[in-house]
Point group: C2
Chain length 223, copies 2
């Protein structure tokens, strides 16, 4: 039904890998040199065979009885995702979410850099946040073309999302990271990653609700 290109790497794996990465970085900071799947599994509450399989996708090989070299493993994940070649992106919508994304220093670690922001509110146009200038929205399409940017971040209210997406696509953007709670329609060949905070929140609240209904609630609060 969905005309998606066939990626043979499971998406759950793709989502777990950055988690291993963060964890491994922390391990390295603490001076650890080797680590086994058994060990990772204990800390991350995942099954060792699954971790082994996930890591294998990046092409790493471990040593029986020992595990993996932490540093090598980190590099393997970085190479797998191509985090060494920085992807430049444009962000549209300098509200709170937009600013949080602009200000977040951590994305450079993932080979991702927001190089300009756009808005149509004259209050913010011309201002600079975290070294990133806010430009007028009507320049978006032409600048995408001129600067050959092909990733766009949408952090606008939902009603503006489709229009912004259209402008991005007209400018040649092929990957959209969408934070607006709206569905956006795109032509074949454009990849949309929806980041829906409500999804995670709903999962949490539903699980709590079920926990409460089951009566297995934690009561041993230290008074």
């Amino acid at each position: 039904m969905k005309g998606k290109p066939d990626y043979n790497i499971p998406e759950p794996t793709l989502r777990r890998l950055p988690r291993y990465y963060n964890y491994l970085k922390a391990l390295l900071n603490r001076g650890r040199e080797v680590v086994s799947c058994t060990h990772i599994g204990k800390d991350l509450e995942l099954d060792p065979p699954q971790i082994r399989k996930d890591l294998a996708y990046t092409g790493i090989r471990g040593l029986p009885k020992v595990g993996y070299q932490v540093e090598e493993l980190i590099k393997s994940i970085e190479d797998f995702f191509g985090w060494n070649n920085i992807d430049e992106a444009f962000l549209v919508g300098v509200g709170n979410m937009g600013r949080a994304l602009i200000d977040y220093k951590g994305f450079s670690r993932y080979g991702f850099k927001i190089i300009a922001a756009f808005d149509n509110d004259s209050e913010v146009i011309g201002k600079t946040f975290n070294g990133i200038e806010v430009l007028a929205l009507n320049k978006l399409t032409s600048l995408c073309k001129r600067m050959n940017v092909h990733i766009g971040v949408i952090a606008t209210p939902d009603h503006a999302a489709q229009e912004v997406a259209d402008m991005m696509i007209a400018g040649g953007i092929i990957g959209i990271w969408n934070f607006a709670p709206a569905e956006i329609r795109t032509p074949e060949g454009v990849i949309v990653q929806n980041e829906n905070l409500a999804a995670g929140l709903s999962v949490l609240c539903k699980k709590l609700q079920m926990l409460k209904q089951s009566g297995k609630i934690r009561q041993e609060v230290i008074e």
Copy 2:
């Protein structure tokens, strides 16, 4: 699978339901009264049987040849998640992400409300954002107990996450929505929902990378 609530709801379903909800709200705004899975499927690029199955978890029943009443469906999802009884939450970490969450008006729709924020930076303690006061971090545990709050949001840097989680748990919190890129250890009976922005970003970048490698890149940019 009729009537009785099912405690084995697939997590993918739980994550899709809020998406249907947003979509249905938009439909209702445009004046639509009934909708079929076929129709939803076209707009959301999902298979109708899957949508039908997802919606069935909320207990709704459709009519052959017609579909579902939009308004009824919206209500069914709301009831399913319990979005009518507001869950109150404390947030810790009033950096950019924390402020984005505080400022985001949309959570009330999901029965979720941040009622106070905490930080240990004297620069922000005492300030108010979007009507929410920032309190000193050392009051967190006692206030959790006193106000009987049981959901906590962590929006601190990674190195503070575990400590904050421990304070929350000591105060009786049983659900943690974690935005810090760190693993937190919790006792049995505490639910942690990790919101890892890097995961979504990585999926997007990897898919783009694979798209580029496959040579199937979109070139028809309107010049």
